[in-house]
């Protein structure tokens, strides 16, 4: 068992870089983070729309999709 484990890659460097990225984003000014949130929301908008549509279809299965 212990031999097999030694074949796994060491991801500590990746995790450290991820933590550093998180700290850097956390250190941005509030106003800068607001702008990031605008961008994030725009990026996921198609997913949110699809989710809403799916909910509507589940609630009204007989209603056909329009638009």
């Amino acid at each position: 068992m212990s031999n097999a484990r030694s074949h796994y890659p060491d991801v500590s460097g990746i995790l450290a870089r991820k933590a550093e990225g998180r700290r850097q984003r956390a250190a941005l000014r509030f106003a800068e983070k607001l702008a990031i949130l605008d961008e994030l929301r725009e990026r996921v908008a198609p997913i949110v729309r699809a989710r809403e549509l799916r909910k509507k279809q589940i609630a009204n299965p007989d209603q056909k999709e329009t638009g």
Binding site: A19, R22, R23, R25, A26, R29, F30, A31, E32, K33, L34, A35, I36, L37, D38, L40, R41, E42, V44, V48
Partner: protein
């Protein structure tokens, strides 16, 4: 669509006296301390003295609704009033914890254009964590974990808030679920 403009409208409501005491809460308030995470709305904690009380005892948001309509924001979504493309949810103070959080809210700079500075009121880190603990959804617990791992909450202040609002047991449960030793033991 701009969250900054949505907050600007909220500050305008305060300037006009429509809301006397308010603070940004929820995920957008957490932004002031930790990295940005996706959210679908802007939560604004407001004092109940800003609201109308119906004879049935229900609190009404009519004064805010009227003022927003006069400013051209009459659309509503399932999660709040649409203001500059963002749903804004006005949450009346609903507990002594909310009341304290609102009283002790701080001012944050919302402007990043270099023009005249615009400030808005925002909850303190220890209150955001305590409220997240009380609400207790998975995303709230993840938010607490982010505050702790980034060292963005004053542990002594947090301990005080949790003691005052009888949340120490909930805190121990959180630590158990998160698999961490209680960071408040040394605080």
């Amino acid at each position: 669509m701009s969250l900054q403009k949505s907050i600007e409208v909220v500050t305008k409501l305060a300037e006009l006296g429509v809301i006397r005491r308010y603070a940004i809460a929820g995920a957008v308030a957490a932004l002031n301390y930790i990295q940005p995470t996706l959210t679908e709305d802007l939560d604004i904690l407001v004092s109940i003295t800003d609201l109308e009380t119906h004879k049935s005892g229900l609190l009404l948001l009519s004064p805010i609704e009227k003022a927003l309509a006069q400013m051209g924001y009459s659309e509503r979504s399932s999660v709040g009033y649409m203001v500059e493309g963002w749903p804004v949810q006005f949450l009346p103070v609903a507990s002594p914890l909310d009341e304290e959080a609102l009283d002790q809210a701080i001012e944050v700079d919302v402007d990043f254009t270099g023009a005249a500075s615009m400030k808005a009121r925002c909850l303190r880190a220890e209150h955001i964590v305590a409220i997240a603990l009380k609400v207790g959804r998975l995303k709230d617990l993840a938010r607490i974990e982010a505050f702790l791992s980034d060292g963005r909450v004053d542990l002594i202040a947090l301990k005080g808030v949790l003691e005052r609002h009888l949340l120490l047991e909930a805190w121990k449960d959180f630590c158990y679920k998160a698999g961490i030793s209680n960071p408040l033991s040394a605080a």
